[in-house]
């Protein structure tokens, strides 16, 4: 094993605009979106016929036939077919986890170049047959005689025609992600106004990122869509205040405005060793410094489902001798405005920091002017697997523009009580 750890460089990334569920990408498959995104990356970095170390990508909602989807995507691009690929899945943390995986391989010298990607479609969603029907069909398949087949067929019932559609619910609690976030919002006393303000900032920042041309080389048009469909540049706290709560009952504070919509999209990021980048005349934008995942016990201890990043970040800070304030950019995935606000309140709270995180003092507050400065998931939308790549590519460019010594923190919460976090530094 190579004892010399190398720095894993982020050279840049690209994505297609994110669309709302059943919008322009209604008929696009995950494979369509990921292939198009990889093609855009190939064009951006002139990777045609290049045999990369590997491509790792994944999504949350996948058809059972897509057991090797990333490899199929690679085969559909101009990359050298000798480029290996694999699929990974860690709920909303998928894209960032893919980045961490390939960065670790680069650091260890196992590969010199790699693409980390992610995708998701909530429109072209897999639909499974009714569980009863599935059992009948399996029995039919197992039957060896016509009599046995007939007997199996007699078990068919009209109601078995109803299919199983994927639900956005936690298997062990039966609650939707939004209901879980509403519980957290209530526990932390998060107000409607705070959430709507954060939402407005997300939209304004993303709109500005388009208007200033920051996203020109980070987003490539797809199926006629040029900007994220969910973006509302002119939204305001007043407008958002008119929306009815969708989670947490009538007294709830969470609306369709301050929660991310179901979305479709894909993203990809190119990472490499410094040597590989130099050989290919590609400038390094940033480095993956360190990463940390964590999980909460939302089942037995009834911890907030989306609070795992609160555990991950202090470990990351401790290992790198950093304080929470030592960053120029904070890229906190806005699954719900409430999730971001709960996370901040937790890090500011002496009780939570001591009782849950085992810290002597609270981590303190995050400068809101440094939060999701070029827009977040509330504005862009959140195709689960694609969010990590959107954030890594955006942050790498921000750090490159900010210059040497600048530093960014990524924090993504995920279903199942998971959290994925990372630190990046400018080249």
């Amino acid at each position: 094993m190579n004892a010399n750890v190398r720095r894993a460089a982020v050279l840049g990334g690209i994505r297609i605009p994110f669309a709302r569920q059943n919008g322009p990408y209604a008929r696009a498959s995950n494979q369509d979106m990921m292939t198009a995104t990889l093609e855009a990356l190939i064009s951006k970095f002139e990777l045609a016929n290049e045999a990369l170390g590997e491509v790792a990508a994944g999504g949350v909602l996948k058809h059972s036939r897509d057991f090797n989807l990333t490899r199929e995507c690679v085969l559909g691009t101009r990359l050298d077919p000798h480029t290996p690929a694999y699929d990974i899945q860690q709920a909303c943390g998928t894209g960032l986890e893919a980045t961490i995986l390939v960065a670790s391989k680069i650091a260890l010298g196992q590969v010199d170049s790699a693409v980390a990607g992610g995708f998701d479609t909530t429109s072209d969603a897999p639909i499974a047959v009714n569980e009863d029907l599935r059992q009948v069909l399996l029995e039919l398949n197992r039957s060896k005689s016509n009599a046995a087949r007939l007997k199996a067929l007699t078990k068919l019932r009209p109601q078995q025609i109803v299919p199983q559609i994927p639900r956005n619910a936690e298997p062990r609690t039966g609650l939707s992600m939004g209901e879980h976030a509403a519980i957290m919002a209530k526990e932390w006393g998060v107000t409607r106004e705070e959430q709507d303000e954060l939402t407005v900032a997300s939209h304004r920042n993303l709109a500005a990122a388009y208007d200033t041309g920051f996203l020109d080389d980070l987003v490539t048009p797809f199926l006629g869509l040029e900007r994220d469909q969910n973006l509302r540049p002119d939204t305001s706290v007043e407008k958002l205040a008119k929306l009815k709560p969708v989670f947490g009952g009538e007294e709830g504070t969470m609306t369709a405005g301050n929660s991310t919509p179901l979305s479709d999209g894909a993203s990809a990021v190119l990472l490499a060793s410094e040597d590989w980048a130099a050989e290919h005349n590609l400038p390094v934008q940033a480095y993956i410094v360190d990463a940390q995942t964590a999980a909460v016990d939302h089942v037995h201890a009834r911890e907030g489902l989306l609070m795992a990043p609160t555990y991950a970040v202090p470990k990351l800070l401790g290992r790198n001798n950093l304080s929470l304030q030592d960053f120029d950019f904070y890229e906190i995935h806005e699954a719900f405005a409430a999730q971001v606000l709960c996370t901040f309140k937790a890090w500011e709270d002496p009780v939570y920091c001591k009782e849950k995180l085992g810290l002597d003092a609270p981590l303190g507050s995050v400068d809101r002017d440094k939060l999701n400065t070029h827009g977040g998931s509330l504005a862009a939308g959140h195709p689960f697997g694609a969010t990590g790549g959107r954030i890594v590519a955006g942050l790498a460019k921000m750090l490159a523009e900010k210059g040497s010594g600048s530093r960014g923190l990524i924090s993504i919460c995920a279903a199942g009580g998971l959290g994925v976090t990372a630190i990046m530094e400018a080249a």
């Binding site: 209530k186 309140k345 002496p350 009780v351 001591k354």
Partner: protein, 469 residues
């Protein structure tokens, strides 16, 4: 002794009728039962910026395993974290209506002038209607005399009017108290905070008590049996309030020495026998009574830890019609005997270190009462005695305090004419009479070895009576 009105208005029909025609609706007060937690329900804890008591309060709340909630404010959250309290977060703006509290505890010591009293408003305004039945409102401040500036003294004094008004506003058996914690007395608040939070203080409301710095630390106290290993003398112990006092002190682990007159010897022996205590039969107005009491406790127990001056009589007559026997008897039993016994015990070093003298005064002693010139004089005198003797008693590392009961349901009150009795029962914030055990629990709080910060004080057990307030 039963309060038929209270029973009636608590029937389903009675509730409707009393509400319709606006009659007082006294609830059945929650009272302490052995083994209960100090407080059964969530406690909301807040602090005015710059306070000095949040840490001490959080320590107590942690010690009683209370379910604590606080707003996301530095003072309270830091104090909670330091005390190891896994406090939940409360935001009045987002909390649903069903979020209610058994107690609201507010550290007002940081309030430095009248403009900052708005901190108390800000804490209680959105929460006061969230107080549960038999709930508790407790404000802690700095004694005006200990304030650094006239403005601070003014603002701290203002808290009295604020808290007493809350006491009159909260319903359903809830109470309100103000605790002035002297400089450097932060470590003395536990026994008082526990008492006021718990159902033991059921009939105490609208009270202002001052805790001073003390050197009588009670580390490692067993809060279930704070009197373990201590000897408690209770005068008039055979029946009524005295009997309840003996029972509560025995429950707290004390060996009770029950004292009463020879005529009540049989009742006394019965009462005290059940408690595993001992008896002393004498008339406290006898010339040699103080000496015999001191002899008894020194010989049998090497001294006494708690002395409760409960014995008392009434001989009501308007002054012009009162005989000199009626005057002399009431003053002799209710006041002079207490003075003589205290002097003798102190002179002969019969009161042990960390000793407690608790005297029973009366609301009449504070407010005066027609037909009770003798009784009111004696009971007001008790308050004077407690105040005057406090420094000397403190020099013996002991304390002297008084309780002043209001309308307590006893055989005495049962014999009153109905109009007088009903007026006495209803004219207080809890709209009912107290029970002997309410007086006894208050005495037990003063008698607690951890109550060393309380000296020369008087607390009324009157449900915040309108009389003499």
């Amino acid at each position: 002794m039963s309060d038929r009105y209270q029973q009636l208005v608590n029937t389903p029909i009675g509730k409707i009728v009393s509400k319709q025609i606006g009659l007082p609706a006294p609830v059945k007060l929650e009272r302490y039962e052995r083994g209960q937690p100090v407080i059964d329900g969530p406690v909301l804890f807040g602090s005015a910026p710059g306070g000095r008591l949040a840490g001490a309060i959080a320590q107590v709340l942690s010690g009683i395993d209370a379910e604590v909630h606080t707003a996301l404010e530095d003072e309270a959250r830091t104090a909670a974290a330091d005390a190891g309290l896994d406090a939940q977060v409360f935001n009045a703006e987002t909390a649903t209506e069903d979020q209610r509290f058994k107690a609201l505890v507010f550290d007002a010591s940081g309030i430095a002038d009248s403009t900052q009293l708005s901190a108390a408003y800000a804490f209680f305004h959105p929460t006061i209607r969230r107080v549960k039945t038999s709930g508790r409102v407790i404000v802690l401040g700095t004694p005006p005399d200990d304030a650094n500036t006239p403005r601070q003294a003014t603002a701290q004094r203002a808290l009295e009017g604020f808290v007493r008004s809350i006491g009159k506003e909260v319903r359903k058996g809830a109470t309100a108290q103000l605790i002035y914690v002297g400089q450097k007395a932060e470590d003395q608040i536990e026994s008082t905070l526990r008492f006021y939070l718990s159902p033991k203080s059921a009939y105490v409301s609208g009270q202002v008590v001052q805790i001073a710095a003390g050197d009588q630390a009670a580390d490692g106290i067993d809060w279930e049996h704070p009197q373990a290993g201590r000897f408690a003398l209770v005068t008039g112990a055979s029946r009524g309030i005295g009997r309840a006092i003996a029972q509560v002190l025995a429950r707290d682990g004390a060996h009770v020495i029950g004292l009463d007159v020879p005529a009540l010897q049989r009742e006394l022996e019965e009462t005290i026998g059940e408690l595993g205590g001992s008896t002393l039969v004498l008339d406290i107005t006898d010339d040699d009574a103080p000496q015999r009491i001191a002899d008894h406790v020194l010989t049998n127990h090497g001294g006494v830890d708690v002395v409760v001056h409960n014995a008392g009589v009434t001989r009501d007559k308007t002054l012009g019609r009162m005989s000199d026997e009626q005057w002399d008897m009431v003053l002799g039993i209710n006041l002079t005997a207490q003075e003589r016994i205290n002097e003798e015990l102190l002179a002969r070093q019969a009161l042990n270190e960390n000793g407690r003298i608790v005297c029973v005064s009366s609301m009449s002693g504070i407010a005066g009462n027609a037909g009770q010139t003798n009784y009111a004089a004696s009971k007001a005198g008790v308050i004077g005695m407690v105040h005057a003797m406090a420094p000397e008693v403190a020099s013996k590392r002991a304390t002297i305090n008084a309780v002043a009961p209001g309308f307590i349901e006893t055989q005495m009150t049962a014999a009153m004419p109905i109009a007088t009795r009903e007026a006495g029962r209803r004219m207080n914030s809890l709209a009912q009479g107290g029970l002997p055990v309410d007086v006894a629990e208050t005495i037990a709080w003063y008698a607690n070895p951890a109550s060393g910060g309380l000296n020369g004080t008087v607390v009324r057990v009157c449900g915040q009576s309108l009389v003499g307030a």
